[in-house]
Subunit: 484 residues, 2 copies
């Protein structure tokens, strides 16, 4: 598969939605609305036998009734309707021969392992065999491309458009539709909603699979980091090979389930995928520098870190905190990863901090740690961050503050952000901002995030993202050194 | 110390706030406002030399100027003012002899290990030595009692009063002021804000310490579960003994930091507390069934679980999911804890599920697991939960749903809640509701939580709370069996 082919999926001339609906509780309604809300600039053709128009758009009884070019067909009908729909497609292809992609959302295909389900999937796959049409799904929630504004998913995140950021560099592939929906909803609920670059729910992978999509994202210039939720894959060896190659160019963050024997049986009955020996996967991920994460939060936070920050130059992480308790907690978290080193800052840096921070501040006791105390002003927050970032021994900073009543939240965010971006490029090292706590500090976090910085709920999340960035960097450096 | 004595702290006749202020950026302003917003029914006396009134309340230049009874004095002034304040207190005690408690919020006392800091703390402690006044702090953020509406903290959670629930049974002791502030803010930011029962930031523990407070909470009838954030304690052996005794009656959930050598050095420079050998603490906690948690989220979620749910009768946890991916993920999480067992439900329960759930549902493949699929209706959600809860082999349920567009979010919550509460008491076993994902499902979660059920962000949190409930139950059962 060349990159061109899947580019077509994300930039189709004309999309037909079979099963489009005006009923707000139906997926076929939400797809159309998502596309309209998302300002999809192309042509959209609802197909529904019993409606004259859907969301104000002229609606067709059959796919073959549409005169204009349709390159992408989205199926959002019950699986039992597949036979008549494919007959209709045959008719269209006989006259127009224009459809190049199908996204098939419904479940109840081969994943059920029933005779009927397998038969339905076979009928769907005839579109590929006869016309070379490429298929996503079935048993998926569709695809999104925020660049071309194609969105065939039926997820309503409940978050208004103005809460989202601009399109970022995170592309995501999910084997589970419900995990995909959750990742979209959680991303939307972040301080500034994540607008994924490409988003693909692959479902049964009857045709287009992990490898096809990874190779597409490998060459996609707007994809900076790739996230994956995976249950299993038939050809694990080949997959790892491809992932390993891509990971040298773009970080791959994977949440693979089916670790346990019970999870593995459940995975098999879910997407009918053998999860394979988890230990083998785990070792392979490690070998190739593919970052395996433990949970959904680490997945999202790590994706954001890679998207927004530059890679650290090394593994020396400084803890700069305005709050003692969370600082200690952060040190404990860091100590879980023995490859993270303590930066030994210069006497000059120590003196700068000692001279300008509150008298009670604990500077470099222990090394690589400074507690500027709750009496620190906004200026002292900013100055301490600048001094630490400019020290050559520091590769990254966990910056913690528990916003007190004395610190206007939004102003703190703005001044920290100004401080960071006014630094010379070489000093703009990764900073993991933990701004605590809860809803009260959203104004501060929003100010930071609006300028492209990343904030975390607590040191737990910040340190996990930091260690993933460090692992990736160390792996790539090693490859460069050994000329691999 | 008898329980009576600390009851006085939480139900004082008259509170004087030294350092009360009208400046909204000062702690002395927020204390007064928190007390007014929280409808404190008692007498409040702001003390400030340069204001005639604070927040509309008559303000006194000195503590000794207040004619009425003052049992609790809150100090929110810089530590350097301690000498003149204590002189003023001496004057008051000579004539009125009414003050019984001091909450001293400011830092810069003995924790700095400076001569001056130690001297200040000694002067403060003379109030105890001379008059038997009991002292909280210094270097803390104060205390809250939601029953008596005393609130001497200066945390503005930014969450409106109507987002909070009624007073619950969670009492919390924090050695760090900033962790205390974060716990308050995170609790407030939950789907329904947590109203802690008693909340105490202990700071330097110059006088009142962990043991005093634990013994108070032990006999406090409205405290159901105790949460602790701890850095270290001089007399660890004695503390463990008291905690072990209390844990038999009320669960104690502890986040103890200083695990790592670096964290331990930082802890020492923070509250001047030796964190002690972490391994010794860890073993002791285990031995006495004191629940040590890993992070701040597990702390909060576990506290809520113990507060709201009854203890499980055993360790057999069923996974009931409407979403394949999250169900597998949940099984992986459960598999981390080998003491959690798989319930083997009866043929009758299996048949009930098979007959009423969508045809594609995977029932008990593997055992103890059911995937009712994304096509499940609200009725099917409710029926499946009821069948599983009524099976005698089930001690608890992880219930997962990724709300689809076809399920009206609030209605799903309401019907699930009705189903649960209409069951016979014996079937109202612990249910860990994972309602996914993000802001879109807040209406569903709110409906559930309003009736006293507990919801979680994802299976990660649900399983951690469940395993903590199971550990506690197993420990208590073992004690009963062995007659310990």
């Amino acid at each position: 598969m060349t990159e061109h082919e899947l580019n077509g999926l994300f930039q189709p001339k004309g999309i037909a939605v079979i099963g489009a609906s005006n009923n707000p509780l139906k997926a076929g309604c939400i797809i159309i609305n998502n596309m309209i809300k998302g300002k999809f600039p192309g042509k959209l053709y609802p197909v529904n036998r019993s409606e004259e128009n859907v969301a104000g758009l002229k609606t067709y009884a059959r796919l073959s009734d549409i005169d204009d070019v349709v390159e992408l067909v989205v199926l959002i009908t019950p699986a039992s309707a597949i036979y008549s729909i494919m007959d209709d497609l045959d008719e269209r292809m006989a006259s127009k021969n224009d459809v190049r992609f199908i996204v098939c959302a419904a479940a109840d295909y081969a994943e059920t392992k029933t005779e009927e389900g397998i038969k339905r999937q076979e009928r769907l796959m005839q579109a590929k065999d006869k016309y070379g049409i490429r298929i996503i799904g079935p048993n998926c929630i569709g695809v999104i491309d925020t660049m071309s504004r194609v969105n065939t998913t039926f997820v309503d995140t409940g978050v208004s458009e103005d809460r989202f950021g601009p399109p970022g560099g995170i592309s995501f592939i999910s084997q589970s539709g419900s995990v995909a929906a959750s990742i979209l909803a959680w991303g939307a609920s972040k301080v500034i909603g994540i607008r994924y670059n490409k988003f693909i729910s692959v479902g049964n992978m009857a045709d287009i699979d992990f490898i096809d999509l990874l190779e597409f994202l490998e060459q996609d210039p707007s994809t900076k980091v790739i996230g994956i939720y995976m249950e299993g894959y038939q050809n694990g060896k080949q997959l790892i090979k491809v992932m390993g190659r891509i990971a040298r160019k773009k970080p791959i963050i994977i949440l693979k389930v089916g670790r346990s024997s019970k999870g593995s049986v459940a995975a098999n009955s879910h997407t009918s995928s053998m999860s394979g020996s988890d230990k083998v996967y785990d070792a392979a991920f490690r070998q190739y520098g593919i970052l395996r994460v433990e949970d959904l939060w680490e997945l999202l936070d790590t994706l954001q870190a890679f998207d927004k920050m530059r890679l650290p130059d090394g593994n020396r992480l400084f803890v700069l905190t305005q709050a003692g308790g969370p600082g200690i907690y952060c040190s404990d978290e860091i100590s879980k990863y023995d490859f993270i080193e303590t930066p030994m800052v210069s006497e000059n840096t120590k003196n700068q901090l000692k001279e300008t921070m509150p008298r009670m501040a604990a500077i470099c006791v222990p090394e690589g740690y400074a507690d500027i105390t709750a009496s620190a002003t906004i200026r002292q927050h900013c100055d301490s961050l600048r001094y630490v970032l400019m020290d050559p021994s520091v590769d990254g900073v966990c910056f913690i503050t528990v916003v007190t009543p004395f610190l206007p939240s939004a102003q703190l965010g703005k001044e920290l952000s100004d401080t960071y971006w006014s630094l010379d490029e070489k000093y703009r090292k990764p900073v993991y901002f933990c701004i605590m706590a809860g809803e009260a500090v959203i104004p501060c976090r929003r100010e930071l995030e609006q300028t492209g910085l990343v904030t975390f709920d607590s040191p737990t999340e910040a340190v996990k993202a930091a260690k993933n960035m460090i692992i990736y960097n160390m792996k790539r450096e090693k490859e460069t050194q050994t000329g691999q």
